[in-house]
């Protein structure tokens, strides 16, 4: 789906070239500029900045513009954050206001603990 970059808004933060760090690929599905979608994006950016600095790629997909992309990731709920990589795929739905839940959903809390 990365090939469809022209229809997705890339908010990729810097990948600092550290080969040891596995890149996390995230997709945030929204439907227009709804309050929930905007909130989700803001919350996600915050989490990424705090926990995934330099280790992630984020695509924001607006289904109003590209509805055909909804099927591949089996999107029903809006907003939905999909962690495509690393596998397995995880989905977090909602405005991502509960940061802890998002971290659990992204399987990041464990990582934190190990650190």
């Amino acid at each position: 789906m990365g090939a469809k970059a022209n229809t997705t808004k890339k908010v990729k933060a810097s990948a600092n070239g550290n080969a040891n760090v596995r890149l996390m690929e995230l997709r945030l599905y929204v439907a227009g500029q709804t309050p929930k979608s905007l909130a989700a994006l803001a919350n996600l950016k915050k989490i990424c900045a705090e926990h995934l600095e330099g280790r992630y790629k984020l695509y924001v997909i607006d289904l109003l513009k590209t509805p055909q992309l909804a099927q591949n990731d089996q999107i029903l709920a809006i907003p939905t954050l999909v962690r495509k990589l690393p596998e397995p795929i995880r989905k977090i739905i909602g405005d991502l206001s509960d940061q802890n839940k998002v971290l659990v959903g992204l399987n990041l809390l464990e990582t934190e603990g190990v650190k």
Binding site: A31, L63, A70, L76, I78, K91, G94, D95, V102, G105
Partner: protein, 587 residues
């Protein structure tokens, strides 16, 4: 919703438009199909056939009514669905390729979903909209939308979203079928029927006495008359079919054309012409009383006339039945090969009554016969006569509207000589009822047959003896005399006796005739003798008369001579007299 209610209150003002489903029988039951441009619910337990219904609704819409459709599945993948319905002859992939159908599989995997904060199901709407737009869909199926309840925790939100979804579908004028699982004590597990107020159809698959039957019920159909009864339906290799309900009116066209029963002697008993075309005929009788044989004759007769016949057998396989019929000189195989006779045999326990009925319906549709034979009807009595009655009524109505002559056989126990109750119940549906029964007498069983009733004809009141031979059936007049009916050898011996009597009588008559002849001759001789005697006498009389005359003449001459002799003195006085006597003498 409000608009809808208004439309409903003044029923005539805004008639609910309907979309034909194309499902056999369903559109008749609902007077036209499902509400057009609105969602309908089809609910029922697992395996009740709701998905089949929904898929057929889409496929028929796409193929027969030029209404492309979206099939959104929540439980089965598109591949699985395609495979599942391929057995019904539905080619979903092909339809999808021709842009008649969009298959959209919505996978819900609760394990991979975490909820944090507020969300809605806009994704579902977007996907549906996208699918609809791709082919300009007019129809939508959601199978089974309530699966979303397993994927998301916030049921309050889900309910609101489902309500919004139905509203959304209605706003877009999409004729939708939503399938839903049956709930405990409610039509659907999640109460979806609350949101769909227009049409709710309930499908049921139940097993009674190891026999499964499928039933359909239109629970609700706003603003439209519909049949509220449970209606049997069938799912088989040709799809979903709902049994057309029996028409309330008895208004089928009737024919006065007569068709032969295939047995001349039986035709004789029916005014010499046989049955009416399109009538229903029942032959009931005890085991081995020749019911199937009569049926086979009828089948043969139909095919002989170049018409088609459907023979449904519940007791014998086709091969066995044909072999048996060959033994009495009926070759049905020939007609099977010609395609005139369709011989279908299956076990009555194979499926429920409705299934049989539907099966027969379908066979009639396929084969288009002039006559239908069901042998025996009583095999179908697996779950009570009431049902059989209802089924038979439907079947006969159906056949009559098509002017198909139906011929049923019914097995009676024969324990009591009276007509059995079961027969009486179905009797009202039967036009011509022939009763075959055994008569046990003098150490043998013989078959008797009589026409119990035959509507619209002066049928024979005779009881006839039914004799099977290699040349088929003969119905012989039985010996009726001295208050009893004799059959079999009793009849034969009685007949022999009668023949002997006859001969004796004949002989006596001859004798008498001879005697009389003799007498007559004697009398004639006597008369002859008398006549000759008479003639003799007559001759004698004539002779005597002549002699008498001669004598008289002689006497008178003598007298004259004497007078003339004595009257020498008075010559003048006696002159005239002399002359007269002389004349007389001369003559």
């Amino acid at each position: 919703m409000r608009k809808n209610r208004n439309g409903n209150s003044s029923a005539s003002a805004e008639r609910l438009e309907k979309a034909r489903t194309g499902i056999a029988g369903f559109d008749e039951v609902t007077n036209g199909g499902v509400p057009k441009g609105r969602p309908s619910i089809v609910c029922g337990g697992p395996g009740c056939g709701k998905t089949m219904f929904a898929v057929e609704f889409l496929v028929r819409g796409a193929t027969e009514y030029n209404e492309p459709g979206v099939l959104m599945t929540f439980e089965e993948t598109s591949e699985e669905m395609t495979k599942n319905v391929a057995s019904l002859g539905f080619d979903l992939k092909g339809l999808a390729a021709r842009k008649k159908l969009v298959l959209e599989y919505v996978r819900i995997e609760p394990a991979e979903i975490h909820e944090t904060g507020e969300y809605d199901l806009e994704g579902l709407f977007i996907r549906l909209q996208h699918a609809v737009d791709r082919i300009g869909a007019k129809r939508v199926v959601l199978d089974t939308v309530e699966a979303i309840f397993s994927g998301f925790a916030n049921t309050g939100l889900l309910r609101a979203e489902i309500r919004r979804l139905f509203r959304w579908l209605k706003d877009r004028g999409l004729t939708t079928v939503v399938t839903a699982e049956k709930g405990e004590g409610s039509l659907t597990r999640y109460g979806l029927e609350e949101y769909v107020s227009d049409c709710v159809i309930f499908l049921d698959h139940r097993v009674t006495e190891q026999v499964s039957t499928r039933r359909m019920r239109v629970v609700k159909y706003r603003g439209a008359s519909h049949i509220a009864d449970e209606i049997p339906f069938l799912i088989d290799e040709r799809g979903f079919s709902v049994l057309p309900s029996s028409s309330m009116k008895l208004d089928h066209a009737v024919s006065s054309e007569r068709i032969s029963s295939g047995v001349n002697d039986l035709d004789d008993m029916l005014e010499g012409k046989g049955f009416y075309r399109g009538s229903s005929i029942l032959v009931s009788g005890t085991a081995g009383s020749g019911k199937s044989t009569l049926a086979a004759h009828f089948a043969q007769q139909t095919c002989r006339g170049g018409e088609r016949c459907l023979y449904v057998a519940f007791e014998e396989s086709a091969a066995q039945a044909m072999r048996n019929m060959r033994s009495i000189g009926i070759d049905l195989e020939k007609y099977v090969k010609k395609g005139l006779l369709r011989f279908e045999a299956w076990r009555p326990t194979q499926s429920g009554l409705e299934m049989h009925l539907l099966q027969i319906h379908k066979l009639v549709e396929q084969h288009n016969p002039a006559t239908v034979i069901i042998d025996p009807l009583t095999s179908l009595m697996v779950d009570g006569t009431n049902q059989l009655h209802a089924m038979l009524m439907r079947l006969i109505d159906f056949l009559k509207t098509r002017q198909i002559t139906s011929f049923f056989t019914a097995l009676t126990s024969g324990r009591n000589k009276e007509i059995e109750e079961t027969d009486v119940r179905i009797s009202s549906l039967i036009d011509t009822w022939i009763f075959a029964r055994d008569v046990e007498l003098n150490g043998e069983r013989n078959r008797c047959i009589y026409v119990l009733k035959s509507r619209g004809m002066a049928n024979s009141n005779q009881v006839r003896e039914f004799v099977m031979s290699k040349n088929g059936i003969r119905l012989l007049p039985v010996y009726v005399g001295s208050g009893t009916v004799l059959t079999g050898s009793a009849r034969l011996s009685q007949e022999a006796r009668e023949r002997a009597d006859n001969m004796l009588r004949q002989q006596t008559k001859e004798e008498q005739r001879r005697v009389l002849e003799g007498k007559r001759k004697a009398l004639e001789a006597q008369i002859e003798a008398m006549r000759s005697e008479f003639a003799e006498e007559e001759a004698r009389v004539a002779l005597v008369t002549q002699q008498e005359k001669q004598r008289e003449r002689d006497i008178s001459r003598d007298m004259l001579e004497m007078v003339s002799f004595r009257a020498g003195a008075r010559q003048g006085k006696a002159g005239g007299q002399n002359g007269r006597v002389g004349d007389e003498h001369g003559s």
